[in-house]
């Protein structure tokens, strides 16, 4: 049964050739990832920053009145979000297109996650950590932003919206803030904020 191509040395040689093919395949895979990480600076969100989840609402940057989109003094845009059971606070945000936006997100209770549908914005949100994601939205439009990690029985209803508007339409108020126009919420807002149109 053992013919010439089935010679032990022939088998070894054929296998070595295949090993070279495999090595090249792996090199291509790794190479493309290395190049994209080093050249395009394409990284997963990995800024390690700790925060006490029990006191978020009492003091610091994640107090209720400080959440949402804001234009900082240096002109950069920061969006602060709290992912809580079972809503993002605020549950609608508005950001300018074509400008770098930094999301800072944390959780006071359990693990959550978020993705902005149609973009590469995707991060876990963990109690005890601040997740920081930087992105630029190239186009205007509205995106859904669901919670993508099981956070309890209300998880399926934890959806919010990200509205991307023309940079000119994104007009901060005197505190630098811009919020969605949500009629159901406006009666409770102490100082109704201007909405961009």
């Amino acid at each position: 049964m053992v013919e010439r191509p089935m010679d032990e040395r022939a088998i070894l040689r054929t296998e070595l050739r295949w090993v070279i093919v495999v090595a090249i395949a792996v090199l291509i895979i790794v190479g493309s990832i290395v190049i994209s990480s080093a050249a395009v600076v394409l990284h997963p969100p990995s800024s390690v920053e700790r925060i006490d989840p029990t006191t978020l609402h009492v003091s610091g940057e994640f107090v209720e009145d400080n959440l949402g989109a804001v234009q900082n003094r240096d002109g950069s845009v920061t969006v602060r979000l709290v992912a809580t059971q079972f809503a993002f606070v605020p549950n609608c945000i508005v950001v300018p297109a074509d400008r770098p936006v930094t999301f800072r997100i944390t959780s006071p209770d359990v693990i959550h996650g978020l993705l902005i549908v149609g973009t590469n914005v995707n991060t876990m949100v963990m109690p005890g950590y601040v997740s920081e994601v930087r992105t630029t939205f190239p186009r205007t439009g509205e995106h859904l932003m669901p919670c993508h990690e099981f956070c309890g029985l209300g998880h399926s209803e934890m959806w919010s919206r990200v509205r991307v508007v023309e940079p000119a339409a994104w007009q901060p108020d005197e505190n630098g803030r811009v919020s969605c126009e949500t009629p159901a919420r406006s009666p409770v807002e102490e100082a109704p904020e201007e909405t961009p149109q």
Binding site: M1, V2, M6, E8, I11, T14, E15, W18, V19, V21, V22, A25, V26, I29, V30, I33, S36, S37, V40, L42, H43, P44, P45, S46, V48, R50, D52, P53, T54, D109, V110, I111, G113, L115, V117, G118, N120, V121, N122, T123, V125, M126, P127, G128, Y129, V130, S131, E142, L144, P146, C147, H148, E149, F150, C151, G152, L153, G154, H155, S156
Partner: protein
């Protein structure tokens, strides 16, 4: 007084497959819940209890019990000697069974609706976690028995190569010991103390890191039986020989080495780790493609030998000449197709930057249902069809129902998972009970979900037919034929270096890799001061 191992093996496999059948029903019901159709029990509580049970049964009970039972089978047949410690093996079985029942009790009463991946600080009943620990402890007994069986055989056969099937089984046992360390530490030192009320906080960064230690290697623990079948059963069933025994050993060694230090690719999107260790583990992850790529070649070459022996001519003529009517050959062919599709999807998941497109979307669910539910479980079916006659001493009336079952499973898996891939790219999140299809942005998901629901129904039908087929063996005509033969290599090895006949060297290298890959990422939690999260108890049914 020589006791037989068949009842032990059958007990393991039957528990595994009954768990599988129950979980299949739940899976189909969950798909109805997510679809625009009406599910038998709507609402998040029913859905998440079902998801928890489905995951627990499919990820912990089915593979663990199957691998244990199959391991005992290989140890008795490939080594042709009685199993050492049959009583201990039964103890392991009962621990696993009792553990399964305790965990199931906690889940179905709504006291452990935390999904099978736990998600602390959500904390369910301690019964759930203790039940799972019992399952793991039962499998630890199996590990010891597998190592002992190989060691005794080597003592009796000095200098001879351990049969490949047993070598691979012990590779899996050794890997499983390493694998379970992460989740065992998480459960015993973090989650169970919290569930018992001894602690009211938990560091979720640490618990997620420990779980990731287990989370990827466990997938290879599930997978290795399929590879054992590729190397030692498929060439035999196809009527040929294994192309290379040495390559088989190297493949299983590579699985042992590279399935462990890679779990952090499940944490790419976590804020708990820097880019460096994520990158390192991504690099190591790229190496787990190597054993699969090597296998594709070796198995294709082995099948070519069989095809040509059966008269196949030409470049591809040997493929048509293969005995596709045999369940093992058919299942392996279908398995390779699913492995190819799933492997491509896996490249996106492991992509250090690309992962952001698909993390925690249906893409991931699709990926592991295609790889595990598809290419691995279909080989569990084939293995069962192959060894059931040896275990019962009876044969089936015919193989037609088996072929129908395998094809239905294959089609069901593809129809289920291909739409999920598309939905995942479209941003559909995992682990959601119901969707608001009136929302215009996601209205287009509905028809795709319906298609996948049809696939789920096909998978359920196939799962039930599988159980029916197994029962058929027990009622089939007695043959008394219990002898199992494994495929021989074209050139069976005479002497092997220790490195290809044991695991000492590889265990040292695994230790090195784990210290490098997980040393600092775990150690940081002990010297970086981080405020923990509050335990949140899931104590009652809603």
């Amino acid at each position: 007084m020589k006791q037989r191992a068949e009842p032990l093996i059958l007990a393991h496999l039957w528990v595994a497959f009954v768990a599988f059948a129950i979980a299949s029903v739940m899976g189909a019901a969950q798909m109805l819940s997510r679809s625009p159709l009406t599910a038998p029990a709507e609402g998040p509580e029913a859905y998440f209890i079902s998801v928890t049970a489905h995951g627990t049964l499919m990820a912990y009970v089915l593979p663990t019990l199957f691998v244990m039972g199959f391991g005992y089978f290989v140890a008795t047949t490939a080594l042709a000697r009685p199993l050492p410690g049959l009583r201990a093996a039964w103890l392991g079985f009962w621990l696993a069974l009792v553990g399964t029942l305790l965990a199931a009790l906690a889940v179905v009463t709504g006291r452990a609706t935390v999904l099978y991946t736990f998600y602390p600080p959500l904390t369910g009943s301690a019964l759930y976690y203790l039940g799972l620990v019992l399952v793991v402890v039962g499998s630890w007994i199996w590990i010891v028995l597998m190592i002992l069986a190989m060691r005794e055989w080597k003592y009796e056969n000095p200098g001879r190569p351990v049969p490949l099937a047993m070598f691979a089984t012990v590779a899996n046992a050794v890997m499983w010991l390493w694998t379970t360390a992460g989740v065992a530490v998480e459960l015993l030192f973090q989650v169970i103390p919290a569930a018992l009320g001894w602690k009211d906080t938990i560091d979720v960064g640490l618990s997620r890191t420990l779980f990731s230690w287990t989370l990827h290697a466990i997938v290879y623990f599930w997978l290795i039986p399929a590879y054992i079948a590729f190397y030692t059963m498929l060439p035999q069933a196809a009527g040929g020989r294994l192309y290379s025994d040495t390559m088989g050993r190297i493949v299983f060694i590579l699985f042992l080495l590279y399935s462990l230090p890679v779990g952090m690719h499940h944490l790419f999107m976590d804020p708990g780790h820097g880019t460096g260790f994520k990158f390192l583990q991504m690099m190591l992850t790229s190496l787990v493609t190597v054993p699969t790529l090597l296998t594709i070649f070796t198995i294709a070459a082995s099948l070519e030998i069989a095809g040509r022996l059966r008269g196949g001519k030409g470049l591809f003529g040997w493929i048509a000449a293969l005995p596709w009517h045999r369940p093992m050959v058919l299942a392996a062919g279908l398995s390779f197709v699913m492995l190819g599709l799933g492997g491509f999807g896996g490249l996106v998941n492991m992509g250090y930057g690309m992962n952001a497109m698909v993390h925690n979307t249906s893409w991931v669910t699709a990926h592991f249902h295609l790889i595990f539910g598809g290419s691995v479980v279909i080989m569990y079916f084939a293995i069962a069809y192959e060894i059931w006659p040896k275990l019962t001493g009876r044969r089936a009336v015919g193989t037609g129902a088996m072929r129908v079952q395998l094809w239905t499973w294959f089609i069901g898996v593809l129809v289920t998972t291909l739409p999920w891939h598309a939905l995942g790219l479209g941003g559909q999140p995992r682990r959601v009970a119901t969707f608001d299809f009136s929302e215009p942005q996601i209205a287009w998901w509905a028809p795709w979900i319906l298609v996948s629901t049809v696939g789920g129904a096909l998978m359920l039908a196939s799962a039930l037919l599988f159980i029916w087929n197994l029962v058929g063996f027990h009622r089939g005509p007695a043959t008394g034929e219990r002898h199992m033969t494994y495929a021989l290599a074209v050139h069976p090895p005479m002497h092997l270096p220790r490195a290809l006949n044991g695991f000492a060297l590889w265990n040292w290298l695994v230790l090195f890799l784990m210290v490098v890959a997980y040393g600092y990422p775990i150690a940081q939690f002990f010297f970086v001061d981080g405020p923990p999260a509050l335990i949140q108890r899931v104590t009652e049914a809603g």
